[in-house]
């Protein structure tokens, strides 16, 4: 009781202090800039050091207990064709020949700092762990495959051929191994230190130092530092990344920012649309009422007019009738007079 009370008071004090002392930074914080989990891990892939031995593929296959491929990992002929990851391969190595010398590079889930897959999942099946891994919980997945639509790196794969319990499959950064203090399978089996596991911040420093030290060897770009708000996997390359199929036109906007505008309109519509619509209804109803009243009034006026007209016609008719009566009486009188004269005369 007392602890929680003290805790509470502590929060209050902190809040008060924060507002009074850090007024400026508090308002800056209200724009909500997030920099990701502190001290999260990542992997730096130095493409210039990759020899295409496919040990990483084999390591991945072993630690994740995936089905063995038809061709042995020592068979390098598979590299002649462009490959992508599938439900049984979390990672693949590809090969490109430029100026006579081969370039090899490895691809897998980049473990975004702000994952698009997590942003769009309507059961919240994806989670960016504090360790840096983006993991997927198959026990809630409905299989809508929106994550696959959203992923700018086209990473998630789907078990289309499983009729009853298909799942999304992708690299997990070996999150369970990281928990145990082990290296990811691919990093562990890499013989050339083309893959380095470490804190993302440290990896960025290493990458920058390498670029600075060997400006002729690397392009001046750490792929993954800013792409889509940054990724936990970082790449160094001697050739432009787009030549390797790593898209450079993705932009630096974190995925949740792309949809936040549309999401923020939702409560506005819910709040104000009923007000507007009820208003329209009220006005339409009022208009009907006025129209009905006016109609009633118009009928009344028409009736009055008709009545007046009828009365006028009546009085005119009466006048006419009385005039006619007079005329007739006069004529009668004249006739009578005439008759009397004739009588007298005869």
């Amino acid at each position: 009781m007392s602890i929680s009370r003290r805790k509470f008071l502590g929060w209050m004090g902190t809040a008060g202090l924060a507002t009074s002392l850090l007024g400026k930074s508090a308002s800056a914080a209200s724009t909500k800039e997030f920099t990701g989990h502190p001290n999260s891990y990542g992997v730096l892939h130095d493409i210039t050091r990759c020899v295409g031995c496919r040990s990483c593929e084999e390591g991945c296959n072993t630690v994740n207990e995936l089905p063995k491929p038809a061709k042995a990992y020592s068979d390098k002929s598979v590299l002649n064709k462009k490959r992508r990851f599938s439900t049984t391969e979390f990672t693949v190595v590809n090969k490109m020949v430029q100026k006579g010398s081969p370039i090899f590079w490895k691809t897998q889930c980049n473990h975004c700092l702000e994952p698009a897959c997590a942003s769009v999942c309507f059961v919240n099946a994806f989670e960016k762990l504090p360790s840096g891994a983006v993991v997927y919980d198959a026990s809630v997945c409905v299989g809508c495959r929106y994550c696959m639509m959203a992923c700018p790196f086209e990473v998630p794969t789907y078990e289309y051929d499983d009729p009853y319990t298909p799942e999304i499959v992708k690299c997990t950064l070996c999150a369970p191994r990281i928990e145990k203090g082990l290296l990811p399978g691919c990093v562990e089996s890499c013989p050339t230190e083309s893959l380095i596991f470490g804190k993302r911040d440290d990896l960025l420093k290493i990458a920058r130092a390498r670029i600075e030290k060997y400006p002729d060897r690397y392009v001046d770009h750490i792929y993954g530092e800013h792409e889509m708000g940054g990724t936990s996997w970082l790449y160094l390359s001697g050739v432009p990344f787009k030549d390797l199929g790593l898209r450079e036109d993705l932009g630096n906007t974190p995925a949740p920012k792309l949809t936040s505008g549309a999401l923020h309109v939702v409560p506005m519509v819910v709040s104000l649309w009923p007000v507007f619509l009820a208003g329209m209804y009220g006005m339409a109803k009022r208009r009907d009422k006025i129209a009905a009243e006016e109609k009633l009034q118009a009928v009344k006026t028409a009736v009055e007019l008709a009545e007046n007209k009828a009365a006028e016609t009546l009085s005119q008719a009466m006048e006419k009738a009385s005039k006619e009566k007079e005329n007739i009486l006069k004529r009668v009188a004249r006739i009578k007079e005439k008759a009397a004269k004739t009588e007298e005369g005869s």
Binding site: V123, G143, T259, V265, A284
Partner: protein
């Protein structure tokens, strides 16, 4: 009365699929076609649910959404917009002369949304979890626009069901229950418009997450607005189009009120649709300007985009205007069909044709014949259920016992 329907099954199908006259000579081949669709559809359904998505679809890891999302969901929802537009016009904006059109529109919308939900059960990998409403019951992914779409569709389906209930309740003669349902009209209509606004627009907003995959001419921060505005045009056109089909199939069921109110309604809707398309054309242009995507117009995708907005937005806008000015019902009906085609084209462009435009052609998605067949199966089932209800229940006419109860 309930016994007369089977002989008419092919008729409405014929009317819908081939714009044919009510011609009994064409009757049997069409019955055969309907039968084939139903048999094939049933076989494919079994295949889908026993062999998996991979057995019937051409979906890949780069193209996870195909025909059933692009056509069944996107177009189905847009074309069912007649429900909210008509009920809003009649109950909220005071267009009481449109009252007789509300019931057919609501019925269409209800069946349309029901079909959409059934299609989604085919499309998702775990339909059992969709039925159990995992996104709402088990774990809520509230940052997803699909969560919002799903919630709105679920609620709107309920609203449409409640709006639809007076029809069977009148048919069954349950007066008290029917009167309660009618009393909810105002609240349901407002809720229906709110939910429709939200999910019609959010269907477009689903694509906001993929600026690197959708062609810039179709991708726009305004895409949600485009979807909402075009859904109004789609809804109005569907009411006109459907009305003309229904005239052929259900003329004998149409009450005097419906028959009297229908021609002025067609003119009014044409005028409204023309105006909406005028505005829609403008916002589409604003979309190009905002992204400064003019240079894309000179590419093949640009030409295709121009076909869409000139041929299926600007042209119907003008033709609707001509039709309503000259009171040319024939032209209006043609234009309604044109507009509907345009909306279908737009939704397919966004979800399939201009999506993943950066990929080489051999990695692009083309629906399998089985996906298309199942989409046709869905539409056929919808038409059959519509006919089943419209031939028995008071949809196009008023139930004699409930005539003066109109609000």
């Amino acid at each position: 009365m309930p016994t007369q329907n089977n002989s008419q099954a092919p008729r409405i199908t014929a009317a819908a699929l081939h714009f044919m006259r009510d011609d009994n000579k064409k009757f049997s081949p069409l019955a055969v076609i309907t039968g084939i669709i139903l048999v094939v559809g049933t076989i494919l359904t079994i295949l889908r649910f026993t062999q998996g998505l991979g057995a019937v679809t051409n979906l890949t890891n780069t193209h996870p959404w195909g025909m059933w999302i692009g056509f069944d969901l996107m177009c189905g929802v847009a074309l069912a917009a007649g429900g909210y537009t008509t009920s809003a016009a009649c109950y909220l904006f005071g267009m009481k002369k449109y009252h007789s059109a509300v019931r057919p529109a609501i019925l269409t919308a209800f069946l349309g949304y029901a079909t959409v939900v059934v299609s989604l059960l085919y499309d998702v990998g775990r339909p059992d979890r969709l039925i159990l409403a995992y996104p709402f019951v088990v774990q809520q992914g509230t940052t997803s626009l699909l969560f919002e779409v799903g919630l709105c569709v679920l609620l709107y389906l309920t609203v449409l069901f409640l709006e639809f209930t007076p029809i069977p309740l009148e048919w069954l003669g349950l007066r008290r229950a029917r009167n309660i349902a009618v009393k909810l009209t105002l609240a349901l209509t407002i809720l229906g418009v709110v939910l429709s606004t939200l999910h019609q627009s959010s269907l477009g907003a689903l694509f906001l997450i993929a600026p690197s995959k959708l062609h810039p001419l179709w991708y726009s921060p305004y895409i949600a607005v485009f979807f909402f505005v075009s859904s109004i045009a789609a809804g109005l056109s569907m009411v006109i189009f459907e009305g003309s089909l229904a005239h052929k199939a259900f003329h004998h069921r149409m009450g005097t009120t419906y028959l009297e109110e229908h021609p002025p309604l067609v003119l009014g809707y044409a005028k409204a649709a023309s105006l909406v398309l005028f505005g829609y054309f403008m916002v589409k242009i604003v979309g190009i300007t905002a992204g400064d995507n003019w240079h894309y117009l000179a590419t093949p995708y640009g030409v295709w985009f121009l076909v869409e907005i000139l041929g299926f937005v600007a042209l119907p806008c003008f033709l609707f205007a001509m039709g309503s000015r000259n009171k040319d019902i024939g032209l209006i009906k043609f234009t309604a069909a044109l507009t509907i085609t345009g909306i279908v084209l737009n939704r397919l462009n966004i979800s399939i044709i201009a999506f993943n435009w950066h990929l080489p052609l051999d990695e692009r998605y083309i629906p399998s014949w089985m996906e298309i067949a199942l989409s046709i199966y869905m539409v056929t089932c919808l038409i059959l259920v519509f006919r089943f209800i419209a031939t028995r229940m008071p949809v196009f006419d008023e139930h004699p016992d409930f005539k003066e109860h109109h609000e």
